[in-house]
C-alpha cells in the first residue's frame, strides 16, 4: 500500500523558523484545489499500485481550507484509488483554526487523525516564532478536537527556542503530557538558512541555547515521554501504543508515496521527484498537462544512503538482512565495517541482525549516518 501527500501551500502568516514553501495570499486557493485534482488524474499511474494506506494533508496550513475543498480532493482520490478502510488520514492544523464548528465539519470527512502545530505553550515564545495563536488557544484547540471526537491527536513542539531554559522546557512537556494526546513530535529548533530567526541569530539579536542544554533538553524529553507511557519510534517522534504516525513511518520504511501540490515530493521506490516551488507555475503548467517537477533517479549507492539514513533515525533500526537482500553483501560489509567504531563508543548496538542507535547515538546521528554513507 502506498501513501498520498497533499501540500497546501498557504499560511496566514509566516513562522520565523520555517523554510517550507507557502504563500501568504489566499487568492489562489480555489484554483489550486482544482489543479491538485488535475494533477491527481495526470499522475494516476505514478504509484506502483492503487491501494492507499495513508493520506496526509500538510503545509503550509491545511486548516485554512474550507470543508468543500477537502471534499473535492477526497472525491478525486476515492475515484482514482482504492483507499484502505483502515487508512490513516491526517490533516495538519493551526490551533486557532480548530473551532468546534470547523472540526465538526471535518469529522464527516474521512479524516481520523489531526496533527496540531502547537510548538510552544508560552506566549513569548510563540510571538518570537511569529505564530498566530496563544498558549491558551493551543490548549483549547486540543480540547475542541477531542470533543469533536478525534481520538488520534498529534501535537508538534519545538525545544531549544531562544532564551529557553531547561526548566521552561520541562514545564512545556508537563503541559503537553497532561492533555491526553496520543502522539508528540518534538523538534530541536533548527536555524534554517535565510529564515527570519536565522537572520536574528546571525545578527546576534537573540540568545540561543547551547549544545549542552539542547542535549539535556533532549534527554529530558525522552525521560518524560517515556514515563508518561509514550514510546519513542524516531529521533523526534513519540507515540502511545498503536498510535505511531503510519504516514510518516512510511517515509522511513521507503514505502512509495505521491506528493501533490507545489513543492511536494514523491518517491516511487527508486526515484524521487519534487514539484516546482511556485503556485503560479504549478497551476499554469498543470493546466497545460505538464508536471512541473524535477526528478532524480537514485543510483544503488544513493538508494543505500537513503536506506541507511531513514532507518537509523528510527528505533526499529537498520535491519542488516534487509540491507543485504536489497543491496548485496558488499554493502552489508561496508555498513558493518563503518558502524564498528560507534558500537565500540557505545552509541550504537548491534543485535539480532539489527543496528540501532541509542540516545547518545541519536544525538550525533548525522555524523554516524554520514560515516556509513557510500560516496
Amino acid at each position: 500500500m502506498s501513501g498520498i501527500y497533499i501540500h497546501i501551500p498557504f499560511c496566514k502568516t509566516k513562522c520565523s523558523y520555517c523554510d517550507f514553501y507557502s504563500a501568504v495570499s489566499a487568492q489562489y486557493i480555489s484554483a489550486l484545489v482544482d489543479t491538485i485534482g488535475r494533477e491527481l488524474k495526470l499522475r494516476e499511474n505514478y504509484l506502483p499500485d492503487k491501494k492507499i494506506g495513508t493520506i496526509y494533508f500538510g503545509g503550509g496550513t491545511p486548516s485554512l481550507l474550507e470543508k468543500k475543498y477537502f471534499e473535492q480532493i477526497f472525491d478525486t482520490i476515492y475515484g482514482l484509488y482504492q483507499v484502505d478502510e483502515n487508512a490513516e488520514i491526517t490533516f495538519e492544523a493551526n490551533p486557532d483554526d480548530l473551532t468546534p464548528a470547523y472540526l465538526e465539519g471535518l469529522r464527516s470527512l474521512p479524516f481520523n487523525r489531526v496533527s496540531i502545530g502547537i510548538q510552544s505553550f508560552d506566549d513569548a515564545d510563540l510571538q518570537r516564532l511569529n505564530r498566530r495563536h496563544t498558549g491558551a488557544e493551543a490548549l483549547q484547540a486540543v480540547k475542541n478536537a477531542q470533543q469533536a471526537g478525534f481520538d488520534n491527536i498529534s501535537i508538534d513542539l519545538i525545544y531549544g527556542l531562544p532564551y529557553q531554559a531547561l526548566q521552561a522546557w520541562e514545564k512545556q512537556l508537563d503541559t503537553a503530557l497532561g492533555m491526553g494526546v496520543q502522539h508528540i513530535s518534538a523538534y530541536g529548533l533548527t536555524y534554517e538558512e535565510g529564515t527570519p530567526i536565522w537572520k536574528r541569530r546571525e545578527s546576534r539579536e537573540i540568545q540561543t541555547v547551547d549544545d549542552d542544554t539542547m542535549t539535556d533538553m533532549y534527554r529530558l524529553l525522552l525521560d518524560k515521554t517515556g514515563k508518561a507511557g509514550f514510546k519513542q519510534y524516531e529521533i523526534s517522534n513519540f507515540a502511545l501504543q498503536g498510535c505511531r504516525s503510519r504516514h510518516n513511518s512510511s517515509y522511513w520504511k521507503q514505502i512509495p508515496y505521491i506528493g501533490l501540490g507545489p513543492s511536494a515530493h514523491s518517491f516511487d521506490g527508486t526515484s524521487r521527484q519534487w514539484n516546482v516551488n511556485s503556485i503560479k507555475e504549478y497551476i499554469s503548467e498543470i493546466s497545460e498537462n505538464r508536471i512541473p517537477a524535477e526528478r532524480e533517479e537514485l543510483s544503488l549507492s544513493e538508494q543505500y544512503n537513503d536506506f541507511v539514513m531513514v532507518s537509523l533515525r528510527t528505533t526499529d533500526g537498520l535491519n542488516v538482512c534487509e540491507l543485504e537482500a536489497r543491496f548485496g553483501a558488499d554493502f552489508k560489509r561496508f555498513c558493518l565495517q563503518n558502524i564498528k567504531t560507534f558500537i565500540e563508543a557505545e552509541k550504537a548496538d548491534y543485535s539480532d541482525n539489527v543496528i540501532r542507535l541509542n540516545t547518545d547515538g541519536f544525538l550525533v546521528s548525522d555524523m554516524i549516518i554520514a560515516e556509513l554513507m557510500k560516496v
Binding site: 501527500y5 517550507f20 523538534y187 530541536g188 529548533l189 533548527t190 549544545d211 549542552d212 539542547m214 542535549t215 529521533i235 523526534s236 510518516n248 517515509y251 522511513w252 508515496y257 506528493g259 513543492s263 511536494a264 515530493h265 514523491s266 518517491f267 524521487r272 519534487w274 532524480e296 544513493e302 544512503n305 537513503d306 539514513m309 531513514v310 533515525r313 567504531t341 560507534f342 563508543a345 552509541k347 541519536f362 544525538l363 550525533v364 546521528s365 548525522d366 555524523m367 549516518i369 554520514a370 560515516e371 554513507m373 560516496v375
Partner: protein
C-alpha cells in the same frame, strides 16, 4: 636587422601589462579583434585568473612607420619574484623595455628590481603611465616618481590606457624610434640565447631564442652549450599568434626551434645554441642552473594514487623544468614526493595545476628551505626535510639561506612592516625615500622566514600596497631545532618543521591554536601538542561532538538531507586519517597562515 626591435614589458602585477600588450597586437593587426580572448599572452587559465604571466612567451608584430616596415618582437616576462632568473634572460634578449606603471598606484618593488635588471643590460627604457582613464589616476605624482627613478624628462613619459587604447600609437612610435636595432653579425659563428621553452604534446619541447650572432637554418646540426647535447634543427621559425616556420633566421631576430627534445630538463633557460660544425668560442654570459629554494612534501590523499601522482608530476615537469621531485615517505601520509620549487607562488601554482589539469588531490606539507648541515666529521649535508636532519649530537652547525629583500611601501606602514621583518629575523640594511611618501626598505632575511606566512601578513599590514621583491644572498649559520606536532600523543611527521630556536615556543603555540581551528570536532576529544624533543611546549584540546542531529526528516527532507550528508562524507574522505584523527588537507599548511 636595422628594422628589428626587440623589447619586453616591465610591470607590476595588475598594472595592465597584458591588456596593453593586447592593444599593441590589435593595432599592428597581429590579431584580429575577434581573436581577442582578453589577454592573449596569458594562455593558461591559471595565469589569466591570477592576472600574472607565469611563463614568458614571445610574439612578433609588423609595423609600418614612414614607409618603412619594422619587425617588433615583444618578449613577455613572468611577473613574480619566484621567476626572477627567467625575467633576467628575457631582458637579456631585448634592446629595450616598456616600463609600465599604473597611474593609480605608482611604482612597486618588483618593478624597480626588474627595471634595475633592464638598466644593467643597457636596455632603452620607455616609461608608460597606464590606466590614465581611471578616475583615481594620479599622473603628476606618478610622473614625479618615474622622473626620480629614471632621471628622464616629463615628455619622455607616454600616457596610455590599455582599456581605451590611448597612447598605443605613441608607444609603437617610441619603440621604433627610441629602441636601438639589435647588434650582431649574421656571418659570425652562431650564438642563440634561449629565454624560454614550452612543452607541446605533439612536437615535444619548443625552445624560444634570440639570435645574438650568426644565422641558423632548418636542418642545421646544433649544440646546446650548457647541456652539451646535439640536435637537428627540424623546424625553426618566428612567433606570430601561431608558429610560422622559416627556412633561416639571422642575428637580431627572435624565434623558436623544434628539435625532437622530449624533456624540459634538456632545454635550460639562459643556455646558448651554436652550430656543431662551426661553434662559437663561448657561451652567452649569464647562464645559471636554476635551483629550487623551497621544498615540500606532496602526497596523494588516497595512498593508492601514488603512481598517478608520479605520472602527473612527470607531466608537469615537461614544461616546468624548475620543478624537481624525488620520492619520500611519511609515517602519517604514506608515499609521496619531496618537490622543489622556486618559491611559494611556484609551489601554489604546481598544487593548483595538479588539481585542475590532473584532478589530483594532494596534501602539501609545511615547506622548508634547503639547509646546509655540517656534521662533526665535517661532512656537508643538504637537508630539505625536517626528518632528514641528522642526530643533534652529530651536527656541528647548520646554515640557512638568506635573501636580500626590497619592500616598497607608503610611509604610513613603515612601523608595522619593520616590526614584521625584524620579527622574522630580518636585518635592516637600508631605507630611503623614493618619492613623496613612499619608501624602499632593504632587509637581509632568512628565506625560511618568508615561507611562513610572510606575504599574507605584509599584504594585510599594508592593505595590499606594499610590494616585495628578493634575491638570494648566501648562507649564514643559524640555531635551528625541529618542532614536532602530536595528535592524541602520536607525532605527525608531516607537520614537523625546522625552526629558529627563538621562534619555536611561539610557533608551537600558534600551530596548536590553528590546528584546533582547522581540525573538525570528532566523536572523541583530540589533544594537539607541540614538542621539541620530549618536551611539550604547547597544548590544545578539541572537544568531542556532543550534538549533530537533524530534527526533521520527512518526505521532502530526505533528498536534501541525504545530499548534505553525502557531501559531508566526501569532505571526510578528502581528509587524512592519522591514527584515529581525521585531519583536513589544509591543516598541513596551517603554519603558513598563522595569525
Amino acid at each position: 636587422m636595422k628594422n628589428i626591435r626587440n623589447f619586453c614589458i616591465i610591470a607590476h602585477i595588475d598594472h595592465g601589462k597584458s591588456t596593453l600588450a593586447d592593444r599593441l597586437l590589435e593595432y599592428t593587426k597581429t590579431l584580429a579583434e575577434k581573436d581577442i580572448q582578453a589577454q592573449v599572452l596569458d594562455n593558461m587559465d591559471l595565469e589569466r585568473e591570477r592576472g600574472i604571466t607565469i611563463k614568458s612567451h614571445a610574439i612578433q608584430m609588423n609595423y609600418n612607420l614612414h614607409g618603412e616596415e619594422y619587425t617588433l618582437n615583444l618578449i613577455d616576462t613572468p611577473g613574480h619574484v619566484d621567476f626572477s632568473y627567467e625575467v633576467s634572460r628575457s631582458i637579456a634578449a631585448c634592446e629595450g623595455a616598456l616600463l609600465i606603471i599604473d597611474a593609480t598606484q605608482g611604482i612597486q618593488a618588483q618593478t624597480i628590481s626588474n627595471l634595475y635588471m633592464a638598466i644593467e643590460h643597457d636596455l632603452e627604457i620607455i616609461p608608460v603611465m597606464n590606466k590614465m582613464d581611471m578616475d583615481n589616476a594620479m599622473p603628476e605624482e606618478v610622473e614625479d616618481q618615474i622622473i626620480d627613478l629614471l632621471g628622464c624628462k616629463p615628455a619622455d613619459i607616454i600616457r596610455a590606457s590599455g582599456k581605451t587604447g590611448m597612447g598605443v600609437e605613441e608607444i609603437l612610435h617610441a619603440i621604433v624610434e627610441r629602441i636601438p636595432a639589435p647588434k650582431g653579425d649574421p656571418d659570425a659563428p652562431l650564438q642563440c640565447l634561449i629565454f624560454d621553452s614550452v612543452f607541446n604534446p605533439f612536437r615535444g619541447i619548443i625552445a624560444y631564442f634570440k639570435i645574438v650572432n650568426g644565422t641558423m637554418c632548418k636542418g642545421d646540426l646544433v649544440k646546446f652549450i650548457a647541456t652539451g647535447k646535439e640536435y637537428d634543427a627540424d623546424e625553426l621559425g618566428i612567433l606570430k599568434l601561431d608558429m610560422v616556420p622559416k627556412q633561416c633566421l639571422s642575428a637580431g631576430n627572435v624565434g623558436y626551434i623544434i628539435s625532437g627534445i622530449k624533456t624540459s630538463k634538456e632545454v635550460k633557460v639562459g643556455d646558448t645554441i651554436t652550430h656543431v660544425k662551426r661553434p662559437a668560442t663561448e657561451a652567452i654570459d649569464g647562464f645559471e642552473e636554476v635551483k629550487p629554494m623551497v621544498f615540500a612534501g606532496v602526497y596523494p590523499i588516497d595512498t593508492e594514487d601514488f603512481e598517478d601522482l608520479r605520472a602527473a608530476i612527470e607531466k608537469l615537469q615537461l614544461n616546468d623544468a624548475s620543478l624537481t621531485f624525488e620520492p619520500e615517505s611519511s609515517v602519517a601520509l604514506g608515499f609521496g614526493f619531496r618537490c622543489g620549487f622556486l618559491g611559494m607562488l611556484h609551489m601554489e601554482i604546481v598544487q593548483e595545476r595538479l588539481d585542475r589539469e590532473f584532478d589530483m588531490n594532494v596534501i602539501t606539507t609545511v615547506p622548508n628551505v634547503s639547509y646546509k648541515v655540517y656534521t662533526k666529521k665535517d661532512e656537508l649535508l643538504e637537508v630539505h626535510n625536517p626528518s632528514g636532519l641528522p642526530d643533534i649530537m652529530a651536527i656541528d652547525r647548520i646554515e640557512e639561506p638568506y635573501i636580500r629583500a626590497s619592500i616598497i611601501t607608503k610611509t604610513d606602514y613603515i612601523g608595522q612592516i619593520m616590526t614584521l621583518c625584524l620579527g622574522k629575523r630580518g636585518e635592516l640594511i637600508k631605507q630611503e625615500y623614493i618619492s613623496g611618501n613612499r619608501m624602499e626598505l632593504i632587509f637581509d632575511m632568512p628565506l625560511g622566514e618568508i615561507v611562513f606566512d610572510f606575504y599574507d601578513k605584509l599584504k594585510s599590514i599594508s592593505k595590499g600596497y606594499a610590494s616585495f621583491d628578493y634575491h638570494m644572498n648566501g648562507y649564514r649559520p643559524s640555531k635551528l631545532i625541529k618542532l614536532d606536532i602530536l595528535l592524541n600523543a602520536e607525532p605527525v611527521d608531516a607537520l614537523s618543521s625546522l625552526i629558529h630556536v627563538d621562534n619555536a615556543v611561539s610557533l608551537g603555540r600558534r600551530m596548536c591554536e590553528k590546528l584546533k581551528e582547522l581540525i573538525p570536532r570528532q566523536q572523541f576529544d583530540i589533544a594537539i601538542q607541540a614538542a621539541i624533543g620530549a618536551k611539550i611546549i604547547a597544548r590544545e584540546t578539541i572537544k568531542a561532538v556532543r550534538k549533530d542531529v537533524t530534527a526533521k526528516c520527512y518526505g521532502g527532507d530526505i533528498s536534501r538531507k541525504r545530499k548534505l550528508l553525502e557531501k559531508q562524507k566526501k569532505g571526510k574522505k578528502r581528509m587524512k586519517q592519522i591514527g584515529s584523527v581525521e585531519v583536513p588537507q589544509k591543516a598541513f599548511l596551517a603554519v603558513l597562515k598563522l595569525d
